[in-house]
Symmetry: D3
Subunit: 154 residues, 6 copies
Amino acid sequence: MRIGILAACLLLGAQASAEPAASGESPEYVKGKETLARVTGSSGAKVVESLQDIAPELGRWIVEWGYGQVVSRPQLDLRTRELVTVGALTALGHAQPQLKAHINGALNVGCKPEEIVEVIMQMAAYAGFPASLNGIALAKEVFAERGVTVNRTP
Amino acid sequence: MRIGILAACLLLGAQASAEPAASGESPEYVKGKETLARVTGSSGAKVVESLQDIAPELGRWIVEWGYGQVVSRPQLDLRTRELVTVGALTALGHAQPQLKAHINGALNVGCKPEEIVEVIMQMAAYAGFPASLNGIALAKEVFAERGVTVNRTP
Amino acid sequence: MRIGILAACLLLGAQASAEPAASGESPEYVKGKETLARVTGSSGAKVVESLQDIAPELGRWIVEWGYGQVVSRPQLDLRTRELVTVGALTALGHAQPQLKAHINGALNVGCKPEEIVEVIMQMAAYAGFPASLNGIALAKEVFAERGVTVNRTP
Amino acid sequence: MRIGILAACLLLGAQASAEPAASGESPEYVKGKETLARVTGSSGAKVVESLQDIAPELGRWIVEWGYGQVVSRPQLDLRTRELVTVGALTALGHAQPQLKAHINGALNVGCKPEEIVEVIMQMAAYAGFPASLNGIALAKEVFAERGVTVNRTP
Amino acid sequence: MRIGILAACLLLGAQASAEPAASGESPEYVKGKETLARVTGSSGAKVVESLQDIAPELGRWIVEWGYGQVVSRPQLDLRTRELVTVGALTALGHAQPQLKAHINGALNVGCKPEEIVEVIMQMAAYAGFPASLNGIALAKEVFAERGVTVNRTP
Amino acid sequence: MRIGILAACLLLGAQASAEPAASGESPEYVKGKETLARVTGSSGAKVVESLQDIAPELGRWIVEWGYGQVVSRPQLDLRTRELVTVGALTALGHAQPQLKAHINGALNVGCKPEEIVEVIMQMAAYAGFPASLNGIALAKEVFAERGVTVNRTP
């Protein structure tokens, strides 16, 4: 059936990604690369690239399963997914590089900086002030790097 | 002195809630009660009530600060807030009663069951399968209690 | 290349699983079902089955990615994998149903009860006594259910 | 050899405990049993007893190292230690049986119920409302079992 | 309207703080600023200040709710509160900047360095050695910065 | 009195360690030093040394209880113990210095780099991608420092 899926993709010209699929890439991988690029620009691909000499399958899983299957599902839009991810990583507290990546990701898919800040602030009620403060510190870094300003009308 | 605060509110006509504020309730408390009712129906008020003989201030904080100040802010709609909360509590893994309450809360503010399931599933990528599986088990309980069915069109 | 993989499997008769692959099952899914059965007997399949009406893709991901890709890799034997999983779930502390499943899983793939107990005890040094105590309580349940005795020669 | 250790202790008159040390018990074990009894009454000893057939060394470590060495140190009084433990277990969120045991322990060593409640409430600021709510629920159980009432003068 | 609240407070003579309340500050905020200064010297105010351009309400919540309502309650003295906070943040493990702040805070409100070290050491039994080791590393930094020595008489 | 204990040991000929025990060292401490050296080379001893002026007992506990009693038990070989520890610390996510130490430790006791990578990758399924990614980043550091290459034959 995977043959069928691939065949269907090819027949239907479902291959809309700008970058042609490399030999050996499953349709989920191709889809995942597209979504990864939408969410992270080129930084996600760099993370995957950095895994090549030590744990390339981890990189493949992130693209093919994480982005290609989980995050690409149409049941929830990418903006909501990224806000949920920012909230969850803020609450967990131990995933700072990934939280920073997804604050960027949320901006990339169209979330307003005010929404991102709001989600991180809300986590104070569910995971305590330290988690929120550390999340806001990362948002501040990201916003400064990108020249984003937060509109604080009361 | 809280009566004085309330007096100030009344004078300023800040009191827009349908249910009249009890004596000694700050405007944030009144706002919080409204939002708590929208999110939890009557179950949140029961949790607060259950704290009266042991930790009433904790109940007041949840209403006045948590719901009156944090969750009531207009920068993010309640639907997104509830999905973020469901995601974060799923990822944390140790807050099962509250996760169940917020799966109900998400339904109460208009989230589709498919969206709730989607958020819990997405957490597999960020917090692992056990967190997602335990979240789905609670969603299954809630949906069964409310007669909600999940529309699984592929 | 995936076509190549599948072709190779078919040509080489790599399909050794007793249960024939249902239509629509990828080779990874078939491999995952095999490994899931080795680790969990029939209980893992029941968990997957229980997800059918609410989050069937989560079940598929567990089988196809979790067991078919991650756990089936030959770089580490199943005995070591299960001991590592028992240790990690003990340390995390919030995944009790899954910890119980993997204590069973460790026995199923040939770990000695003494080894399982040892791993859970070791977690006291890395995650504290409460995590270890709650893990041992689950091991005690599992061993009682299966009539397993722990050989405590000093 | 442990008999040799005990012999040394006896010769040096280090044995001040009311209950005579069983054969093979180190001075730290004897001290730990004393402190365990002060903190938990007889319930801690029952936990240790329950480990005898599966992980007796874990029980010995809890008594000998945990209570005999860590908790028995004179640098901090038992009341403060128990309040700190109640706070930490509330914040961790995954150690409910142990949190319940230490709410009892705090009462046993002379903490006022108001102090215990206060510590659990304070954790809302550092670990979020769910952690505090689940801690208060356990305190409510313990206080009900012991007929303890909380004095809530404003 | 907050001006109205403040007006009520002023009329009722509730304003006992040395530093005059700025326009728009609630009595809880004024109380929180006092407690924040007692616990953190000027560093807490700097954290709050750093939030002004991105998440000023988070700063207000920390002052008004966290310090003004939770930490200022008279049911527990500040020394015990700070030791509990140091213990909880050590156990959580993901809140290093806040743990460092509260090691300083504990010293500021009169805890002895030996007591702080003792609490962090005790967490080894409840959250494992890594949590304790990372907490001690921070205490070592703080003590070095302040020229504090730990009195290690056996 | 510890001298008394040591005397008993010496009389009983329990002292089999190559390095003579310093005055005041229990047999468990001596055993722990041996195991610590096998696992960490000289780096563990440096950690213990760094605790001397602030929390020397924590260092003693790590050697005497952690390595001397827990990790030295013969029921599980050191290779498996280190892989389990690497997995658990990866999953916990907040113990990065210790995770790095145990990636080194795993290599020191004979684990292959491929096995270490495999354990860290496996944690993606149980604790999410961020935990695995941060673990792999540390493994990459360690392998680079030691000139270790990972053999990635498919």
